[in-house]
């Protein structure tokens, strides 16, 4: 009888151990997520594929793009607010396009960059020729505080960026600062074109 009790207890301990190891094991999304380098506004962040510096952030109720001929595009409205992130990006070793630019809010939600044309994320960059320009996001008005810019090479989540380079930039949008920015949001912002530096 004593041996049976010891056997059952051993089985229970082993089963608990297996469950514990299973729980401690990170899921596939965490195992293979891009390898991110962190930075803050105004700081250059380097990866093996690209270099990025976020220069400033603006908000707007609607935007229009000024193209390379000096012509104004159509006005684009939004159900939330436009967040315009101005950044300087350079490819390091090969052509690079920043398709995977996302704004990640404190609740873990990710807003992929807008499909509006003429922005920095739609520009193919050649190595050694940095470019400065806007990246546009649409988010709800109450989600701005604490938002972080995440940049990867690809826009889809289908595995193309697994274990690839990524950059996370804290945009410095504390609660009170974000609130004051939202309150002072202009109804219309004319967004300048991308410039090679």
């Amino acid at each position: 009888m004593k041996r049976a009790i010891v056997s059952v207890l051993t089985g229970v301990v082993l089963l608990a151990g297996i469950l514990g190891v299973r729980r401690a094991d990170p899921d596939g999304d965490r195992k293979y997520e891009p390898i991110a380098t962190s930075g803050v506004m105004g700081q250059q962040v380097n990866t093996t594929t690209f270099q990025l510096r976020v220069d400033r952030v603006e908000l707007a109720g609607s935007v229009r793009i000024l193209d390379s001929y000096g012509l104004l595009g159509t006005t684009k409205t939004t159900a939330g607010i436009w967040v315009v992130v101005w950044a300087t990006v350079a490819a390091t070793t090969e052509e690079f396009q920043m398709q995977g630019a996302r704004l990640r809010t404190t609740d873990g939600v990710e807003y992929l960059t807008s499909t509006v044309q003429g922005t920095l994320d739609k520009t193919a960059l050649q190595p050694g020729i940095p470019a400065y320009g806007p990246i546009l996001f649409e988010i709800p008005r109450d989600k701005l505080a604490g938002a972080v810019l995440r940049v990867t090479r690809h826009g889809t989540k289908g595995g193309l960026d697994h274990l690839g380079p990524a950059v996370d930039v804290d945009l410095g949008l504390s609660g009170s600062y974000a609130k004051s920015l939202v309150q002072r949001t202009p109804a219309l912002l004319t967004v300048d074109q991308v410039r090679e530096l």
Binding site: D29, T74, K76, T77, G108, V109, Y111, T115
Partner: protein, 208 residues
Amino acid sequence: MTTPDPPPGRTESLRGPIRPWILLTAILFALATVLALAWPAGGLREFTPETPHRRLGEPITGHRLAMKPYKVSFLAKDPAPSLGDAKPGRFLAIELEVTNVSHQTATVSDLALNLRLTVSPSGATIDRFRDKVAGFVIRDGRFDRDQLQPGLTERVMIVYTVPVPLPDPTHLTMTVIDKEYVGGFQSDLSEWYDVDDPLAIYDLDVGR
């Protein structure tokens, strides 16, 4: 070289009859396992999947999108000519109010992929790939935006061509398939996969 004989006492205990407590424990364990698996799934009642039916203006919420169709129209003119060129033909336009309730950006194309359409009186299916001619967010009088950002409610129009042999549709049955962001069968990396049971079936009259 021969294998030594096992001690006589040990042979007896291994080959003897199963002791009652072992049998009882095994039966209780089997019963407990069945109950532990069946109870959270609704017990041992017969499972009958019931897809809710909805009408125009009634909302539904899935794992990725919440939606409320507010207008279905049959049109003899292309309502969303791309690059200014109206396509010839007859069109079915569905207008919906859509909110992305997930944690990632979605598109009108993602929504359209999860609608199964059957029109009456023909009873024919509208092909979601071949017959779809446009899908866009209704904003700024243009047809070039299709992103649905989390938490932002948008008005959306999806346009289909009505194939030539079919009579003009008067009624539309729209089955909505839900998506769930989970690990797949072959890989534990998460993706949006169809949920087995439809989210809802809309019974909609087609206006002119």
